[in-house]
Amino acid sequence: MIGLLTVHVVAAPDYTGIVGYLTVFVLAAFVGIEVVSKVPSILHTPLMSGSNAIHGIVLVGALTIMGEAHGTPQLVLGFLAVFLATLNIVGGFVVTDRMLEMFKGKPNERMKPKGGEPGPGASA
């Protein structure tokens, strides 16, 4: 019995890693749902933009794969992946910050910028 079991375990592919990652995946999904389920609608745009920036962390993956790349096709695709991921992460965080910068004004400070003067961060 033990012998059979051992043979079986050796023969099967190792699923330890993938099960661990699936566990992480499921837990992260619950955290994600929990964290945003009560966001007021005034913050939907910044939240969308902010979470957009967070998935820019794919840059870490692009860099990892770039390190392993061999040969021209892999290098070219890797270069493209790093470039696109950088656009995502840098652009995402900068644009979200610009959006949120505008939300900081307190009710009593509003009369300071006179006339149609743009608020801070507006560079239209």
Binding site: V36, H55, Q74, A81, T86, D97, G119
Partner: protein, 480 residues
């Protein structure tokens, strides 16, 4: 003492790979707190900055990977790509007008999806070049990464083109659409099964092409007004594609960050569609097989009379009102009139008129977009009322001043079951004593349908650019 300390440090010295994973764990905590912060106006900005710091930390520690530590062409190319990407992204993100924000988010989302798809492809190429036959679950991860990433990439591209109005914002339908979409869907499913069974790498390229096509044909029939909800969904897709990359690369950081965004994106998409009073399937698939019953042409129904006023008349009306509700829409943003409308509100309040802004959840081109625009003009929170808060007060308002909005006050959403916007909650401008529309023309709104309220006897139309008209109104109020 120093000797003992050194010994302690030496005894707990960790392998670099463990340190790297611990730093990734710190970044994961940073991202979760960032998302949490983004949920409240008070901490949103700090949250985002925390997220950025976590990202910088994670990217920096990635350069300790053995494969990236020596200055070969891989490292140099990676650095060049980062510098190039940052050099393009920063100025674009800093200079874009707030009105163009939805398009920009679509672009940044799409490129992220593209990067995730590329990562999966490269990993597969890499394994094959090493002569390894990947396990079935690895192939499955790669295929999912390519599929979701590519759909997000091409779908976001079409969403960008729609929002930028390079093509019509209306749903694009053609004969046999459902059949074609069905065929592509079935082909993709079949391809995935075949790839898993045979392990043949060539199928990945076919899958890539089909997924790109799927992204395009999935987005084309979605109407312009629904595109913001779509972007949220595509944002979620990119998150899942990034999570798939994490599975491929055995990277917990990518799995967690991608899944957080994937899950939160789906919740956000649901919140948004319920704000529009519609189900997600209705938004995504309503154009299929249905005839959009748009009454009136591009210029509305020219034969019906409307009452046109002058800024002077309306200025007097506003100045002597007790309560004025301003209902802003995308037209206000297009005219860059958010600062002028604030001036008008200030002028009225200085005269003792009660003024507040009634914000529809989907005013602008993105849920919450109008709040961002008015915040840009330093309108404080307490003067912004969300729809549910504003509607009970509409019947006591003397004037509802509708600035560049149309669909969000269209009673057809309540009364006309066949209308494309039927079921969408609206701001009840029709309950106010007087209604004033600031509009460029009689053209229908983004949803492409006529608005009965424009012909209402209580309604006064002020045609022209919203900014010009508002400037005249400010002057008229001052003289009244």
């Amino acid at each position: 003492m120093p000797v003992a300390l050194t010994q302690v440090v030496a005894s707990i010295s960790l392998p670099l790979s463990t340190v790297r994973n611990l730093v990734y764990l710190v970044a994961i905590i940073g991202f979760i707190l960032a998302l949490k912060g983004l949920g409240s106006p008070k901490y949103a900005r700090q949250g985002n900055q925390l997220g950025a710091a976590a990202a910088i930390l994670a990217v920096a520690i990635t350069f300790t990977l053995p494969s990236l530590r020596h200055a070969d062409k891989n490292l140099i190319l990676a650095l060049v790509a980062i510098v190039l990407g940052a050099a393009i992204a920063v100025p674009v993100a800093r200079k874009v007008r707030m009105t163009a924000m939805p398009q920009l988010v679509a672009v940044f989302n799409g490129v992220g999806g593209g990067a995730a798809a590329l990562i999966s492809i490269i990993e597969l190429l890499h394994l094959h070049s090493l002569g390894l036959k990947p396990a079935v679950y690895v192939t499955a991860e790669v295929l999912l990464g390519v599929l979701i990433g590519a759909v997000s990439f091409s779908g976001s591209a079409i969403a960008f083109i729609k929002l930028q109005e390079l093509i019509t914002g209306r749903p694009i339908t053609y004969p046999g659409q459902q059949v074609i979409n069905g065929i592509v869907g079935v082909a993709i499913a079949a391809l995935i099964v075949v790839s898993l069974v045979t392990g043949n790498i060539a199928f990945v390229y076919i899958l890539l092409v089909l997924a790109l096509i799927l992204g395009v044909i999935f987005v084309l029939p979605i109407g312009g007004a629904d595109v913001p909800v779509l972007i949220s969904l595509l944002n979620s897709f990119t998150g899942l594609a990034v999570a798939a990359s994490g599975f491929v690369l055995d990277n917990d950081l990518l799995i967690v960050a991608g899944t957080l965004v994937g899950a939160s994106g789906i919740i956000l998409t649901r919140l948004m569609s319920s704000a529009m009073g519609r189900s997600l399937p209705n938004i995504l698939f309503s154009a299929f097989g249905s005839v959009i019953t748009a009454t009136g042409g591009e210029e509305g129904d020219a034969s019906r009379p409307v009452r046109t006023g002058t800024p002077e008349d309306v200025g007097v009306l506003l100045a002597y009102a007790r309560k004025v509700v301003i209902i802003p829409g995308y037209g206000l943003a297009v005219a860059q009139a958010q600062h002028t409308v604030r001036e008008l509100a200030d002028a009225l309040m200085a005269r003792g008129v009660e003024v507040f802004f009634a914000i529809h959840p989907v005013a602008g081109r993105m849920p919450g977009h109008m709040n961002v625009l008015l915040a840009e003009a330093n309108v404080p929170y307490d003067e912004l009322k969300e729809m549910d808060e504003a509607n009970p007060e509409m019947s006591t308002a003397d004037v509802a001043l509708v600035v560049g909005a149309n669909d969000t006050v269209n009673p057809a959403a309540l009364a006309t079951p066949g209308s494309p916007i039927f079921g969408m909650p609206i701001i009840h401008a029709d309950e106010a004593e007087n209604i004033v529309f600031l509009k460029r023309s009689m053209r229908p709104g983004f949803a492409g349908i006529d608005n009965e309220l424009l012909y209402d006897p209580k309604t006064t139309m002020l045609f022209g650019d919203a900014k010009d008209t508002l400037t005249k109104l400010v002057a008229a109020v001052a003289e009244a």
